[in-house]
Symmetry: C3
Subunit: 139 residues, 3 copies
């Protein structure tokens, strides 16, 4: 993983075989980014998405292995228990134009993943909502 | 719906059961935002999309009810007849990885919807294009 | 194609029948934009996507003709051999809610395409990675 900082913006390249969420988390900690948003494109070889069922109040996990193009990776950065927290959703396609997507748990980059990230240079904390059993942005 | 303003950026949280477009419209009016862009993620329980047929010069409406994850909500803000106007498209998935999407008419949030919005602190007006029968950005 | 510049941000409108990539390339050259990111929505009538197979180290081309709504157009701007270079991925839907997407080679606008583009006012160069046979961001 490499990045270039331009004022409060970052261009991030996550490389073949690297994990997107793990790489981003390490990067956010090193750069001390606590609030922001990002969009990304690229390709992945493995992905775990989670679908949050409101009815069951739990995540349903799906696992994917193959060659996929990311059509959209969209996320925000806040903090949970004092540490940078990433909330990201992803949509991706295989070569047969079948699409997949949801809440991104983790994905392994195939070829390259390019992310534009804006550091809002502030902090938004997350707090557990007991009714939803989700960590919501505490605005 | 809650928000935090950081300089010209907004982090917006639309809550369970609230309407995305209606909430955003009220928010834009209160904050006097007349030009900008936004991206969002989250979940929805109801959605109405419209597909604009160029051939027929009309919108085809589709309605969805269930549990869906938003993989991308992308939109811009301009003005129409002096009021803030939102143009947004949405893509969403159900738990069977079936995807849906199009021009967003309205959606009801399930659990939470998190939007990053940049106020461009300017104004772009929309004007009816008689040939297309669409309100285009008057640039 | 028309645009409005607001400080380092651009709102771009690509018109019915115009090519998205060709229009953007001309625009970037004229405005001398060498680094940035963009998101867009709108509709298209033709599209060529490319799926990069890591295994085969080549792109598989797909062509589409019809009426489609763009749910997400996400891209970044860097330079290759001294000229502005666009890397964009697109997701789009037909009226039957069938979705398509991938690396955007070219698309023809149907009705309108609206793009928000942020000029990072810097430069990121691309360099051929011989192993991947891809022009990666040189960060």
């Amino acid at each position: 993983m490499k990045h270039k900082k331009i004022r409060s913006m970052y261009f991030v390249r996550i490389d073949n075989g690297e994990k997107i969420m793990e790489s981003l988390r390490n990067f956010l900690e090193k750069e001390n980014i606590r609030c922001g948003f990002f969009t990304g494109i690229g390709a992945i070889s493995h992905c775990t998405t989670k679908f949050y069922s409101q009815e069951k109040k739990e995540y349903i996990e799906s696992n994917f292995h193959g060659e996929y193009e990311i059509t959209s990776l969209t996320g925000n950065i806040s903090t949970l228990d004092g540490k940078p927290f990433i909330h990201a959703h992803i949509a991706f396609f295989d070569s047969d134009m079948k699409s997949f997507g949801g809440h991104l748990d983790e994905a392994v980059v195939g070829a390259t993943c390019e992310i534009f990230l804006k550091d809002a240079e502030s902090e938004i904390k997350r707090k557990m909502d007991k009714g939803l059993r989700l960590n919501l942005m505490d605005l």
